[in-house]
């Protein structure tokens, strides 16, 4: 082990250099979840989707809910980091990497939900061989793969200097880091090119991210089904996605802050800013939800109202009101004042939003299918252990991969922090440039 001189580097590389007992416990726990998921999938693969609780009217359930949810979470990442980066918000520096990793991990898992949901996963290639561009599902495939590529690149580019640090400082995995570092030496030219590339990607990734979730919403809104067929769905989904993304990011930040002792890097101020962002999103989410349901209520189409009342007072009321509680009441009450117990409040709000947003996805997918227009024998959907297993496994895989990532790469960008510290002066200059110049009194 090479001695690492830089204190910052030492702290940030510590999780990669040393592995504690907690890590193994976490891996073991998550592996159990994943094992459950794998087992569930194997059963489902051999027996057919019949092992789930899905049935004739309700042909979509947990998997599609998870799909929308995970794709939603993915917005955390890139979108926040990109926006903060473009707006040159200096407090972003310790956050961006975490956000970007969430995006990449969760995108794969979200896309995987569709694979799990397919009756014939062996024919997945048909989508590519015989794809039909009329189908919103194909738009999804396209935009998600574009988003995957973009966010992977966007994650990777700012990591190059850090990988080079790892290559130089860390004793192990020399080969891996050398390859990934792409010969980074930190020359000025390299710096310039990298910065340019990051900036371009940041610009690119925002429209792609928005398109992804709009397209996900189109899966529902392009049909004629009551409470799906809505023009508001695109922005509504995007807002929800950012909302849940921020929440997931905050949860991840707090967890790693605690686990890896990053208190110096992730300070209450970060959480306060993010908390305020979350508050804004909660209000925005409420606005969209209110508009959506009020419009439906006033239109009072019988078919819409069947689903509407099923959510308000019918069999889905716990989910609906649970969603309102988790997405609005709890976060608002936690976030209005962040002067004290910032981190605790933000964590509570974020956890609540993660749950609430999952409920929201569920409450969008299932009730509409449960109440068909025609007098069809109705059925209430209740998931089986297989669906719970695959859901748990999906979360498990996400957490495990995230954890493993932190064992290979620094979760907080070393060079960006350093750059931030070195660039205080530059920031000062920039600040001054925002302000009106000193007024020279005319004489």
């Amino acid at each position: 082990m090479v001695e690492i001189d830089d204190l910052h580097e030492r702290t940030l590389l510590a999780p990669i250099a040393h592995t504690g007992r907690g890590f193994y416990w976490a891996v073991a726990g998550l592996s159990l979840l994943i094992l459950w998921g794998v087992l569930a999938y194997l059963v489902q693969f051999s027996e057919g989707l019949g092992v789930t609780g899905l049935h004739q009217p309700v042909s979509w359930g947990f998997y599609v809910t998870n799909f929308v949810f995970f794709i939603g979470i993915s917005h955390a990442g890139t979108l926040i980091s990109a926006i903060l980066r473009l707006s040159k918000a200096e407090w972003r520096r310790p956050i961006t990497r975490m956000a970007e990793v969430i995006t990449v991990m969760v995108l794969f898992i979200g896309a995987g939900q569709i694979l799990i949901d397919l009756g014939r996963p062996d024919r997945l290639m048909n989508v590519i061989r015989y794809g039909r561009y009329q189908s919103p599902l194909l738009w999804d495939a396209t935009s998600i793969s574009a988003y995957m590529t973009a966010s992977l690149t966007y994650l990777y580019l700012p990591m190059i200097p850090d990988i080079a640090i790892l290559r130089d400082r860390l004793g192990k995995r020399k080969l891996l880091y050398s390859v990934l570092a792409l010969g980074w030496t930190g020359t000025e030219h390299q710096q310039r090119v990298l910065n340019r590339a990051i900036a371009i990607m940041a610009v690119l990734v925002i429209p792609i991210a928005i398109s992804v979730h709009s397209v996900v919403s189109f899966v529902f809104s392009m049909t004629l089904q009551p409470m799906w067929h809505s023009t508001i769905f695109g922005p509504y989904f995007v807002v929800g996605a950012i909302f849940s993304g921020i929440a997931a990011l905050i949860v991840a930040m707090i967890l790693f802050r605690k686990a890896y002792g990053l208190q110096d890097y992730l300070k209450p101020i970060h959480f306060r800013y993010l908390g305020q962002l979350l508050l804004i999103m909660a209000l925005l989410w409420f606005y969209f939800t209110f508009a959506e349901y009020l419009t439906g209520y006033y239109g009072a189409e019988p078919e819409e109202m069947k689903v509407f009342w099923a959510k308000f007072t019918g069999p889905f009321w716990p989910f609906f009101w649970g969603m309102v509680l988790c997405n609005f009441i709890i976060p608002i009450s936690c976030l209005v004042s962040l002067s004290r117990h910032t981190i605790g409040k933000v964590l509570a709000a974020s956890l609540s939003v993660v749950v609430g947003m999952w409920l929201e996805r569920f409450i969008i997918v299932v009730p509409t299918l449960s109440f068909p227009r025609l007098p069809f024998p109705q059925g209430i959907y209740s998931p089986t252990w297989v669906e719970w297993g695959e859901t748990a496994g999906s979360f498990g895989i996400f957490a495990l991969f995230y954890l493993l990532f932190t064992k290979f790469f620094p979760i907080i960008s070393i060079w960006e922090i350093r750059e931030g510290r070195e660039g205080v002066k530059e920031v000062e200059e920039r600040l001054i440039s925002y302000l009106p110049g000193e007024i020279e009194e005319k004489t």
């Binding site: 057919g48 004739q56 009217p57 979509w60 392009m222 004629l224």
Partner: protein
């Protein structure tokens, strides 16, 4: 080109389900078994829906036999990512089992719930089945095809016998079986056909017409009234 359509007279329909069973026998539709049925997975390409007017405490009940409505503007085909379902030139909404990836988007999109999914392997090939129709594997969506294989065979017969195809050679199993002759099948593009004449009746209406799906299954309402 013919435009195949169906008229179902709800006043004549007795809710006997002969159409349902005829369809099952003709198209090798499996019985899914007690356990699966309880979970709401009965496959019934033709299904008799019972509509009860809640304001009248069940006094006004009607039976609506519902096949696939073979929409001219089908919501299901638009969403299929792999062309496993599409409207063919005859106006029949086709379902290609060998292509279907089982995403069930078409089921979610169909406002008539006319599409059914094979949640398990419900049956394999065995005696007593109709060899003209394949047995569907697990994981694909299936639905009424207007007994398209009968059209195939009728056409092919005409071709082999070197005569013109006669639209009367083609009738669906449900229309053939209906004891009250409430189901009439034929060519909607031919104004002289029985089905066209009935479709012009003042009693005629279409299910969920307001959705603009343009179904080719037309219903005749009950009660007094001409036609």
């Amino acid at each position: 080109m013919a435009l195949w359509g169906m008229v179902i007279d709800l006043d004549r329909c007795t809710g006997c389900q002969a159409c349902v069973m005829a369809c099952k026998a003709e198209n090798n539709v499996p019985a899914v078994g007690a356990k699966e049925a309880k979970r709401g997975r009965i496959i019934s390409w033709m299904q008799v829906l019972t509509e009860t007017d809640e304001e009248h405490h069940g006094e006004k009940t009607r039976f609506i036999p519902r096949p696939c409505l073979q929409c001219d503007d089908p919501p299901c085909t638009k969403v299929c990512p792999v062309y496993a379902t599409y409207r063919n030139p005859d106006g029949i909404v086709a379902q290609i089992y060998a292509r279907c990836i089982g995403c069930r988007f078409c089921m979610a999109a169909c406002p008539y719930n006319a599409k059914y999914f094979n949640w398990h392997t419900y049956q394999t090939e065995k005696p007593g089945q109709n060899p003209d129709v394949s047995v569907r594997p697990k994981g694909v969506v299936e639905k009424c095809t207007f007994c398209h294989h009968r059209l195939q065979k009728a056409r092919e017969r005409a071709l082999a016998e070197k005569r013109d195809f006669d639209p009367n050679d083609y009738v669906t199993a449900c229309a053939q079986a209906c004891p009250a002759q409430a189901i009439v099948f034929g060519d909607l593009s031919d104004p002289t056909s029985a089905v066209s004449k009935l479709a012009a009746s003042p009693r005629a209406f279409k299910l969920l017409e307001e959705l603009g799906t343009k179904p080719k299954v037309i219903y005749l309402s009950e009660g007094e009234g001409r036609g």
